[in-house]
Symmetry: C2
Subunit: 183 residues, 2 copies
């Protein structure tokens, strides 16, 4: 329970933080609390932290995407997409000084009106624990803090209900999401 | 008929052009052909030309959007959105040395995988003449030339069929376009 209690207290702090690399701060906090004055090292505390840092190990990201069965994409293009996304959000499991990438999402945007969220992924070991929702809340807070008024996404059928619980509406006022296929 | 014949011969040339300001080139051509060797000035030829030039008069763009009844948006934000769009496409009526903005579209993108088209508008005086289709063809060619694999948009109900004729598919494989509304 301590794992989740620790985690559930963090999102507000993360969202209101002005730093761009919150995971580094958290790792320090965890490191400081991993020994006490009695000379006994308690079990390392585990935390879930979020970041908008873009300096991501592309192989670690590929491993995460592999874990959910996504088709592999050229790392050169993944790198370019990350560079040119408006927002890149990552979710990490931090234990002691080690961290593991367990979630990812990004958004394209015109920096003014519209943002579109792509590539939302949570590692299977961490699914069904409310972490997908936490990652999306983090993404939405970041986008709102940038005064983006229109946040959109294209949801696969099996996650439409998940996004509904987050406040997303499918086809509002009959607006249809459309994909172009060369004729 | 000369008007449209002139125009219909241009899209391929536009799409294969490497310049970023095709309308300037076209304006020159039109200017050169507006007088002949016999000292008689014929009626000025009218052409429709396309451009990806971003140096757009925001008041002219606002006028175009007013003409189709869109809600006004702060020009400061419109400017920012244009700056941060991946592609900005404009359509112009050129007569002699004068040009008039008659169409607009833009796309956000991660420069690698996805592009989303926004704000497609054709002036009412120029609708139902195949010009919306021509503008979209121009946009799609530009996006394809950048190796964008996934082109998407959110279509209002009354233009879903229009986009279908362009090769767009609504909800492919059950994928739903969703919009977020704060809860």
């Amino acid at each position: 329970m301590g794992f989740w209690k620790t985690w559930f207290s963090t999102p507000e702090a993360v969202a209101s933080s002005r730093t761009n690399s919150f995971e580094e701060m958290s790792a320090e906090v965890v490191g400081n609390s991993s020994s006490n004055g009695e000379g006994v090292t308690p079990p390392k505390e585990t935390r879930i932290v979020f970041s908008t840092e873009r300096d991501i190990d592309l192989y670690e990201l590929e491993e995460l995407c592999d874990a959910v069965g996504w088709s592999r994409r050229p790392l050169r293009k993944v790198k370019k997409a990350i560079e040119h996304s408006f927002l890149v959000a990552t979710m990490w499991q931090v234990r002691g000084t080690q961290r593991r990438l367990i979630g990812f999402a990004r958004a394209t945007s015109d920096h003014a009106f519209n943002a579109t969220i792509w590539d939302v992924v949570v590692h299977p070991d961490f699914q069904a624990k409310g972490l997908g929702k936490a990652l999306m809340k983090y993404v939405l807070k970041k986008l709102r803090s940038e005064e983006i008024s229109n946040v959109t996404l294209f949801a696969d059928p099996h996650v439409v209900d998940f996004y509904r619980t987050m406040g997303f509406v499918a086809d509002p006022e009959g607006i249809k999401g459309m994909f172009w296929y060369p004729q």
